[in-house]
Symmetry: C3
Subunit: 359 residues, 3 copies
Amino acid sequence: MPSTLAQLAETLSAQGVPCRIEGDSQRPVHAVATLEDAGPTDITFLSNPKYEKMLGSTRAAAVIVRNDQVVPDGMNVLRVPDPYEANARLMVLLHGYRRHPFAGVSTAARIAATARVGEGAAIAHGVTVMDDTVIGRNVVLYPGVFVGPGCTLGDDCVLYPNVVVYDRCVLGHRVTIHAGSVIGQDGLGYAPVGERWHKIPQAGIVEIGDDVEIGACCAIDRATLGKTVIGSGTKFSNLIAIGHGTRIGPHCMFVAQVGVAGSVNVGRHVTMAGKAGVAGHLTIGDGAQIAAMAGVMRDVPEGTKVLGAPAMEMSEAKRMMSAQARLPELRDRVRALERELAELRARLAADDGSDPRRA
Amino acid sequence: MPSTLAQLAETLSAQGVPCRIEGDSQRPVHAVATLEDAGPTDITFLSNPKYEKMLGSTRAAAVIVRNDQVVPDGMNVLRVPDPYEANARLMVLLHGYRRHPFAGVSTAARIAATARVGEGAAIAHGVTVMDDTVIGRNVVLYPGVFVGPGCTLGDDCVLYPNVVVYDRCVLGHRVTIHAGSVIGQDGLGYAPVGERWHKIPQAGIVEIGDDVEIGACCAIDRATLGKTVIGSGTKFSNLIAIGHGTRIGPHCMFVAQVGVAGSVNVGRHVTMAGKAGVAGHLTIGDGAQIAAMAGVMRDVPEGTKVLGAPAMEMSEAKRMMSAQARLPELRDRVRALERELAELRARLAADDGSDPRRA
Amino acid sequence: MPSTLAQLAETLSAQGVPCRIEGDSQRPVHAVATLEDAGPTDITFLSNPKYEKMLGSTRAAAVIVRNDQVVPDGMNVLRVPDPYEANARLMVLLHGYRRHPFAGVSTAARIAATARVGEGAAIAHGVTVMDDTVIGRNVVLYPGVFVGPGCTLGDDCVLYPNVVVYDRCVLGHRVTIHAGSVIGQDGLGYAPVGERWHKIPQAGIVEIGDDVEIGACCAIDRATLGKTVIGSGTKFSNLIAIGHGTRIGPHCMFVAQVGVAGSVNVGRHVTMAGKAGVAGHLTIGDGAQIAAMAGVMRDVPEGTKVLGAPAMEMSEAKRMMSAQARLPELRDRVRALERELAELRARLAADDGSDPRRA
């Protein structure tokens, strides 16, 4: 959708983003691109100061920058309070979201007679929908998707190829699940009997709220009893494992390869960075931030940032890590103390030996 | 299957579990539920003391508790030596295991003419079974399963949707593999030639013993030569990676996101907690316990618990971690020593200066 | 393909590998096997000195060893400069690579009318190829593969069962992707709006170079803008996550469960061992080596080895780890110093008390 810089600024303003053009407001803009890749009809943005030096070499039609950003002479700029957010809005405007290449219910999909499919749903060839499952309106199921018996999918869900949803799981509205992810497999529930492991039936389900997006190749265990919950608005990256009976609050964000064991309670708007892990039966408070590769072994209070394995509160962890980094120096200081003290003792011993008062 | 508390106690007793009812033995029980979710026809249990306070608020028909557990007045209880295990038995009794919604061999499955399928097998539409493969009796293959040429699957195996088994792999009896897992892909076998990597044919297989259960989205490399082995009775959670030529003993339990490199020998009844990793060519002794996120870089002797990255024997690791946690304090103590020693030297220097014997 | 030891030596020599037979050069050899598993018609090799003691017990027809290796009397050996590499060559010769059990385009594959399929391609039943996609010559697509609209696959690519390639992604020639891997799903791109996350369209693609091999259950995000790149000749093991916009150079090798966040620049011939993680927006120089479980939080210069989490240069990390290991000892030394200093002060105080000069 080609536009001029002025038209884009007008649209952003109408969305409540204060913005100001410097340079050629009639410059045509066709697409958004990175500073590095942008060509003469692309708009780009500078948000991370790390990339500031690229302002000098970008070929972009215009650059979205912060209000106080210094820019090279003659550059067309769109000044806004938050360039990252303004750019995201222009991406929606100029690129839009993926259009799904399926419509209607394929005759080569296998849909149980007792399943119900909502109006406008697009169910591709090679999809399986089992008995008593309810598929909402405008749902898109890509080839290879399997939805087990007794499931409920809300309206406008999108399940990419080869997603598997086990029996009786419940998805809210507008849930997106990327290719290869599995929802509702049995968790690791066994009773030890001698050295053997006796399987405990996993009778619970997974319940996913509205507006959840789950990356590729994730695995979310069903609960042993009751439900594993992924709260509304929560977003997962790829290769994430969630244990049975864990409840994750709304609006969380989990980066790739995060693993949360079973029976954990995670609050709202919690972020977990890449490869973070949480042990079983813990509580993670609202707004907590778990650093990349952190290994959480204790409850994390509301609003707390934790770091390290085992994870500690951020400032404590940094104090410890700084002490660790200076550990070789500390060892040298202890060695110096030992030497000095030995000298002192030797000298005092010599004094004593020559001291008539001691004799 | 509705029962009374008395009937359940009788069944448990018949299975060798000593149990004693307190309260209304005729109370009807329909299902098992958690302390939190249980309604008036559910039985629940208390095993983890962390949840003891929930005894006061549960609406359960009855609670399975330890023999010496103090409970609120008027609560119906079933006293047993091990509530977790007794509850597992009741779950089998009241809920049973998943019933698979397929029967017979679908005409929309692709089964090679040279493949053999055992009596009672359920092979769904969209399954592929390649040449010379043998499928045991009562095996269940869900849609999207691919079993390569020359494989053998024992009796009563269950492969959930989209599981892939590469050529010539061997599964024992009663093997369960959850959705999206891959068995027998080529391992990372390359010979370095200059800066290039020349692929080494991966001529071996994967052999899985009886009664193994593997979670979702796991990846088990075939051996370069010989076989990668998963011993009988071993249980895996999700997103686990096993390298080529690794041999894992019987009755092990691996939690989600564990990774074991190639050519590792793991003994029997070894447990690895979430995200633990083991480097290549090591030996892990029988009964070893590898903690969550441990990074094992050396052999682990039989019966040893290890912790940390690089992993150390548990007590050693704890001593080191406790010393680390008090590192800022240690630094303060060294600083105090330096100060005191400096004062002492200053004082002695002053003394010396005024000491006629030194003159 | 049965041969004699002499014939194998001749073939290796013709490939430029200097080799010398000791023992029976007419000994027939049918296959390659491990030292442990080799039978009387197998050849095996000793490369890792750890397995040297197995020379005494192997039943192999012959053993490939280093020029200076001491061997038991009467053993047939093939002496070469690099036994691992010579063995890899014999594996190609005696075992070859997997032959794919499909030929031609199945009538049960779903190929869009606007897609183009190269000569010699083998497209199995249950494959989906969407609109405007171009499939190169001799490509093999196993059942359950999904290739979205507008993709390009070069010649001789092999996609194992259930691989998913999202829209517009580009694969070079001779790319192999193992089962269950996903290429080009949306990355974790959201703009925070209050406590909600607004999805940013992921308008970029993934571009994979020639001769890349990717393991099972990997997930490679498409770029938000521009492209995520996997350089030619790069090899991935299983369960690897690559974030949006990351560019990985040629001839890298990544072991299982590696995770690289978004917007990272990785040079050429970089190795990352198992479970290593790299934070976003970093640069990893050519030839860098990232140790297993390392957590890289800063740029890594060319040719540098890093270790630990947070990752440090190898020698620095080892110094710190050695200091850490001796931390309990250091604490004891500080305690001893405190004791000695206290004694010294007590003695001096006593001296002072009896010292007429102080009075």
